[in-house]
Amino acid sequence: MKESEIAKTEVVNLLNTLIKEYRVFAPVEQNGFITFQEIHSGSEAFLDYINSKKPPKEIFFPQSERLFSYDLSREEGWGVEEPASEKKQRIIFGIRPCDARSLVLLDNVFDGKPYKDPYYTDKRKNTTIIALGCNHPGSTCFCTSLRGGPFSQEGSDLLLIDIGQKYILQVVTEKGEKITKKYNKFKEAEDHSLSLMQDTIKTAEASMKSKIDVQKITEKLGGIFDDPFWDLVSEKCLGCAVCTYLCPTCHCFDITDEVINQTGGRVRTWDSCAFPSFTLEASGVNPRPGNKERYRQRIMHKFDYFVANHGMAACVGCGRCIKECPVNLDIRVVLNSILNH
């Protein structure tokens, strides 16, 4: 598809125009780090960043989500209420290509066969993804090992590429095309801009140093389920959920009922394979009693089971788990030690 361009100085105006019609989510700086939040003015968006602390998955799959509420004290019946589905169209602006790709992975789980999750699909359907390519991938980024790249279009409707004074705009889907019609300052990209874009892409891709042969890892994992290797690799793990909760592709959840006298509701909350209660059975038996079994599950799910079920690894190489693990348990180190095992 033809590329267009827009001056950087126009971005605030573009966002202000979109905000009139859409709910727009963009990276904003808060508490010393970047998070995705709904913005009400274009100037709130902060686009000079490596990546957000929390992945934008929560815009589709919130950490806590009320599935329904009820009130038994009502005379006219049980009074079960489901949350109203999102009517207003939404845009995520400035999401990184790795996180855009993570939505494609999540679609397999929440919008695949045989299950369709209405809470997720409702939000997903009415959201347009405008990604921002990575001119300066972080040192913990390894997206190119996972079929991604700093300018990967997968999962995006539009992709912006920063070429200094302007952004190049690559239209990926019809949904994206629609957005370009909403604003009249997009121009056909000049040849000079396109050559700058090629240079930018080359430089960024060359700067990515972490490379892991994920296919080989998948091949090896099947044979080492019972290997003592897992005892050693998981020994320092604290069993917290930093890696899973900050992961853009982790999607396990818990469902609990909250009851206060005659009223109550059902909530869905993120859960983590790192927690002891995650697999605790009603009988009291826990098939994953320790760190070894839990950490192995994390790796197996991402690089073996998910590949078997959906044909791709459940990791986009965003590096959040690497950056934030309290004990520096680096997934790249673990994957490499699997290769060398």
């Binding site: 010393g32 602390k53 604290l238 930093v242 909760y245 927690f275 209660s277 934030e324 309290p326 180190v333």
Partner: protein, 316 residues
Amino acid sequence: MNTVVAIRDIAKKLLDEKRVDFIIGFEKGSLPLRSTPCFVRSASEAGRLTWNATCENNLAKYLPKIKERVAIVAKGCDVRSIIGLIKEKQVTREQVFIIGIPCKGMIDRRKIEAKLGGKEILEAEEEDDTIILKGPSLKETIKKEEFLHDSCQTCTHRNPVIYDALIGGKVTEDQAIDEYREVKEFEARSHDERWQSFSDEISKCIRCYACRNACPFCYCQECFVDSSQPQWIGKTTNLSDTAIFHIVRAFHIAGRCVDCGACDRACPMGIDLRRLTKKMEMDVKDLFHYEAGISLEDVPPLATFNPDDPQEFIMV
């Protein structure tokens, strides 16, 4: 002799002589400004062990599960935690060989990152009291003492209180420091201000429990937040749920917390967890004249009763 060589030598000796089954220490991490916990089981691997100003984890965390004999590389706060764990019978004194290390404080990489305003660090070299940082658009020398963790800045027990071997000479401890200054300043604010500030901090929580899991004293077989029968607290990130978690956790470590700062360091969201724990520590000191992790003999205040204990807080 330099500290790293001395740690490796003693580790090698302990393993060679079969005095311990393994060593818990630090090795070089995968990122700049990071060391990572490591477990060394053979003398030939002692060379993995290292020591520097990024050895920030409290390794006492790993003791409660252990059945074997173990040597542990421990700075001042780690040793205080070990004392607490011995008193709580999570590990025996005989089981643990303490390789004590006087500590000048650990550096807080988040403070450094904040100062650099987004510039990425690709290399960090430590030299005595400074660190040289290098990156794509970065070459800067910083002073360690300006970037210490908050808990290290007010630490009055830098030297291990007990040990089986001490590596290097003792360091000076600033006993005149007012370690509760921030708590007192916070207490002086109005009720509404305190609640607002507390709510703002706790609202950042994502319930990952890194604070709990990094804490050497959070070793309950089942934490109250994990219980499903009964389910004591909600699973959401609503303020009421997260606040209960943090308040109960703080109460549970009152009289036990040694202010190592492990919770604070582990939190990915930058919650000021010490605001609660430091207050607990101050109250225990004021009310019971007790400081945790200083002696193996004294009795923890919440494990005993004296007729003259303060009881003004009991509402009749």
